[in-house]
């Protein structure tokens, strides 16, 4: 049973990009002129559905990403790790071994990180530089650790989506390289609120460019969510359920090769959509110009308290 925010339109869109449906894998499907998105056309489910992206204007023109460069690369961990786009794919063993192995390979090729948690099936060790994993897999990947299990040399701290960051402050003093807001750990705050508050907290401490922010989980539905979360302060956004849905899970009985192809297509599609979104805003560099750039969004029908947490201005004023 999928949650309400997985509307038929979204599922079809993801599956077309992955190539599980339609005939143009890897291409952003063109649905209509204008917007099909929330809050006014589709029903809003999350606070971020009430954020709209500011477009370019004549003095700051849009960019056609098929003809001009829009750089989607992101450098994490003080420049040590490069991603082709602000995306991490969070994998769960429940989706089956064929998909798991396929996704690790696809993420490696497409130059994004695969978050494997505690699991690393045999034969995938060689993909270590493309993995984000829990502390138990230290030495075989860029690892993340729960706050509780924090060791001295922890690179990335995994935290829940919360509005409070007690405990994290001490950890930051030890010089961690990243914070991973993982929806699967609960926390009670919406992802976008947690990301924005964390970004601001790091900025206040002068640590923003030293500590990478990864955030995401099962509510991330596609490149629109990725774009908005990046503009609120995430360096990379973890996508999990969306990838499974896109490749046809649950239910698809495909082999590893087919899954790998689909995940690659989906990631390529995400990258192209992200370029189109940034291009429409006249932004040619994700890493510099989009991360934390709340000015590129406006809030529609959000109350002042939430707007202030997000740092996003009201639309139309």
């Amino acid at each position: 049973m999928t949650a309400a925010w997985w509307t038929p339109r979204r599922i079809k869109h993801l599956q077309q990009m992955a190539g599980a449906a339609g005939r143009e894998p890897g291409e952003p499907p063109i649905a209509s002129m204008g917007s099909t998105g929330p809050p006014h056309v589709e029903q809003p489910y999350f606070t971020r559905d009430r954020l709209v992206c500011d477009g370019a204007q004549v003095t700051r023109p849009s960019i056609d990403p098929y003809r001009e460069p829009v750089e989607t690369h992101i450098y994490l961990f003080r420049g040590r790790v490069r991603l082709s786009m602000p995306v991490v794919v969070k994998l769960s063993p429940e989706a089956g071994p064929a998909f798991f192995r396929a996704a690790v390979k696809a993420c490696y090729c497409m130059n994004v990180l695969a978050d494997v948690g505690k699991n690393l099936p045999d034969g995938l060790e060689k993909y270590g530089e493309g993995l984000l994993a829990d502390a138990g897999l230290r030495g075989r990947a860029h690892f993340a650790a729960h706050v509780a299990a924090l060791g001295e040399a922890a690179e990335v701290v995994r935290i829940s989506a919360s509005e409070q960051f007690q405990g994290l402050e001490d950890v930051l003093k030890q010089g961690v390289w990243g914070v991973y807001v993982d929806e699967d750990l609960g926390g009670g705050a919406e992802l976008e609120v947690a990301v924005s508050l964390l970004d601001r907290m790091l900025r206040r401490r002068g640590l923003r460019n030293d500590v990478s922010v990864i955030a995401g989980g099962p509510t991330v539905r596609g490149s629109d969510d990725i774009y908005k979360l990046v503009a609120l302060g995430a360096d990379a956004v973890a996508v999990s359920k969306a990838v499974e849905i896109a490749v046809g899970l649950p239910g698809a009985r495909a082999g590893e090769e087919v899954f790998r192809e689909r995940v690659e297509n989906l990631l390529l599609g995400f990258q192209r959509e992200l370029k189109l979104l940034a291009g429409a805003a006249g932004v040619s560099s994700f890493f510099n110009s989009l991360v934390g750039s709340r000015e590129l969004m406006r809030a529609v029908e959000l109350d002042r308290a939430v707007r202030s947490k997000l740092g996003v201005k009201q639309a139309g004023v």
Partner: protein, 690 residues
């Protein structure tokens, strides 16, 4: 005297910088005013300003503030008292401005206290409803700005009457876009400590830049991107040399960063200063003084969405939006455009430190002066472009066949009204939009031409004896444009042809980025005469992106990565490494591609095949991908297409037989789209799902 208020259809500001060499005399206010007023039509009555730098100005800070009323002024004084270690000496209220007066004082204090005082005052006055702002607070720089045209602001501060002179002037005339121009706080230049900048553009990284500065000692912004640029320059240069700060701020493309082409900026530094880089359109001129020397910096955005030229006449260095500004003071200066993403830096004592581009010496071609030979000679001196154009129209209507227009300096829209087979000679620097929509007129420029020559021209000829700047021959669809020198960014974009109309653009020099972007027809030839014996590529990056028709000839070999829009090399190499891990490629293959400066589609097609090629191709191709055929061959094989036009080009510029023969022996890179075979219907299409 009557002033023309141009319609506000041209969103552009005018910027200017003039720096003297150490042994030359100081630059007077009236010279600066003459120069910036020359592009009056770039601005509006909503704001102008000047910044004057003098190395021997002294050791005390001069603080200048706009204040709305006595209460705001009281707050400024009170705060300065609190922070300034050695106190301050009031110079009084300088001049009343729209709702604001300008107050000035000498302040005796240390830099850090002053920084804190300025931020505190600006935050308090801004949060109190924009009641005032400190707008100038350096020892060596003083800003004069207000509401009005440059001439208005100049008289408000009586710069000419007071004989103000400077080692370096920055000037600006403003066309407001995102913040209103009714108060002087929004006028340029914007200053931060010893930096002052004037800016033309609208940066899309504004939000990221604000977030960057917000927690670094600047807590109040008047809401313009331009103010932020001054703050960022001031901030970065406290941590790194000016060259490096500028190299970072122009937001180098990743391949430039990785190839060490961005002033040795490392990836680690790129990550550390992330948020300080500028995205979107900008041309910036900035001044700086470190107490030892005076510097003038100019930066262009990496897409070159705004014009920027620089000049040197042996006595002074110039930075301008339009060449005409430089020519109004210096007829013989060498003038060249800053390249996309380029940085120009000069100092009073060291001269030019960064030239703003490679090959600047071969880039500008200096035409010889010619005597006017037309049936009628029109003197453009002192006339507005509308006056000049009506005079020309009247003469042509009266049946004159050949007009010589002399003393042209930046006059716009010339050559838009030349009837078929009549001739207009232009002596001087032709302004923007020369020969737009030209139908059949013959237009010759003895000098350089500014931006946008021959836009949507569909017949006739344009011959330019010097260089042409940005966007030459956009949507050119008939006739021919010959440029003896070089052309700037985005030449021949959207050029097209029809059954009986094939346009030609022939360039004797070089071209910058995006040559032939979206090109759909016609022929472009880049000859590079001034670089015949140099081993350099004649074009910039992203040539022929989106090209669907026509043909481009560039003398010499054009690197594969300059053609089209290849994916980032690190992504390609990573994909190939993934293929190697799956056993589809050898480690040697990966190493081969890693060693290339960039990886083009041609490179992978040449080396790979089968499954590996199929898989990696997806990074290069898409639904909108159009394959280009790139061949290297001698021009004599193509004489049927280019023979006549190249001969006419040689004849027009009096180039000799020997040179012609040499050119025929040279290799050319020829680029054209692969002709698509008629698509056969595919096998049974899959049913649409959903």
């Amino acid at each position: 005297m009557m002033y023309w208020e141009t319609p506000r259809d041209i969103a552009s500001c005018g910027i200017l910088g003039i720096l003297r060499r150490e042994n030359a005399s100081r630059i007077r206010a009236d010279e600066t005013l003459t120069s910036i007023e020359c592009v009056r039509y770039r601005g509006s009555r909503y704001g102008a300003g000047f910044a004057a730098y003098n190395l021997d100005a002294g050791s005390r800070y001069k603080v200048k503030a706009f204040v709305a009323d006595g209460e705001a002024l009281q707050h400024v004084k009170q705060t300065l008292k609190e922070y300034a270690v050695g106190g301050f000496w009031e110079l009084g209220v300088e001049t009343p401005q729209a709702k604001f007066m300008s107050w000035a004082a000498y302040v005796d204090t240390d830099e850090q206290s002053l920084r804190r005082a300025v931020d505190r005052i600006n935050r308090d006055l801004f949060d109190g409803g924009l009641r005032g702002r400190i707008y100038s607070w350096g020892r060596f720089v003083e800003v004069f700005k207000g509401v009005g045209y440059p001439s208005d602001v100049c008289s408000i501060y009586r710069l000419v009457e007071r004989n103000v002179s400077a080692d370096l002037w920055i000037a600006h005339t403003r066309q407001p876009t995102n913040s209103p121009g009714v108060y002087p706080v929004w006028s340029h230049p914007f200053a931060s400590h010893e930096w002052a900048i004037a800016h033309n553009g609208d940066i899309s990284s504004f939000g990221a830049n604000m977030e960057f500065m917000h927690y670094r000692g600047v807590s109040s912004f008047v809401g313009t991107d331009s103010e932020l640029i001054a703050c960022i320059l001031d901030h970065l240069t406290q941590h790194m040399p000016v060259e490096k700060a500028a190299a970072a701020m122009v937001n180098p493309f990743e391949h430039q960063l990785l190839n060490g082409e961005a002033s040795r900026l490392t990836v680690e530094e790129y990550a550390r200063w992330r948020g300080a880089l500028l995205d979107g359109p900008f041309s910036v001129v900035a001044g700086y003084c470190d107490g030892e020397d005076v510097f003038m910096l100019a930066m262009a955005d990496r897409s070159k969405f705004r014009p920027l030229v620089v000049g040197d006449d042996g006595e002074r260095f110039y930075v301008a939006s339009e060449e005409a500004e430089i020519r109004s003071l210096s007829e013989d200066a060498d003038v060249w455009p800053v390249k996309p993403g380029g940085v120009f830096l000069a100092s009073m004592k060291q001269g030019i430190i960064l030239t703003g581009r490679e090959h600047e010496k071969v880039f500008y071609h200096r035409p010889r002066k010619q005597l006017p030979v037309g049936d009628v000679v029109v003197d453009a001196k002192g006339l507005s472009y509308t006056a000049v154009n009506s005079l020309i129209r009247k003469h042509f209507e009266a049946g004159v066949r050949h007009i010589s227009l002399i003393n042209v300096n930046g006059h716009r829209y010339l050559g838009i009204n030349v009837p078929s087979h009549r001739r207009l000679d232009i002596h001087g620097t032709a302004g923007n939009c020369l020969a737009n929509f030209n139908k059949g007129g013959e237009i010759t420029v003895y000098g350089n031409a500014q931006d946008d020559v021959g836009d949507a021209m569909y017949g006739g000829r344009v011959v330019i004896h010097g260089d042409a700047r940005e966007v030459v021959g956009q949507a050119l669809q008939g006739g021919e444009i010959f440029v003896r020198g070089s052309v700037g960014n985005r030449a021949a974009i959207q050029m097209r042809e029809f059954k009986d109309s094939r346009p030609f653009l022939v360039v004797g020099g070089r071209a910058d980025d995006y040559l032939g972007e979206y090109m759909a027809g016609g022929v472009v030839i880049v000859l590079g005469f001034d670089a015949l014996d140099m081993d350099t590529c004649l074009v910039g990056r992203y040539m022929a992106t989106g090209m669907v028709g026509g043909r481009i000839y560039v003398r010499g070999r054009v690197d594969g990565w300059r053609i089209g829009l290849p994916p980032p090399k690190p992504d390609v190499v990573r994909y190939l490494r993934g293929l190697a891990l799956e056993g589809l490629l050898s480690e040697d293959d990966v190493k081969y591609f890693e060693a290339l400066p960039a990886v083009s589609y041609g490179d992978v097609v040449e080396r790979l095949s089968g499954e590996a090629l199929r898989r990696v191709s997806k990074l290069f191709t898409s639904k909108y991908f159009r394959e280009l055929r790139v061949e290297v061959r001698r021009l004599d094989e193509d004489m049927e297409v280019v023979g006549d036009v190249v001969k006419r080009f040689f004849h027009e510029f009096g180039l000799g037989e020997k040179l012609f023969e040499r050119v025929l022996r040279e290799e050319f890179t020829v680029v054209e789209p692969v002709k698509k075979a008629v698509q056969k219907a595919e096998a049974e299409p899959l049913p649409e799902e959903g």
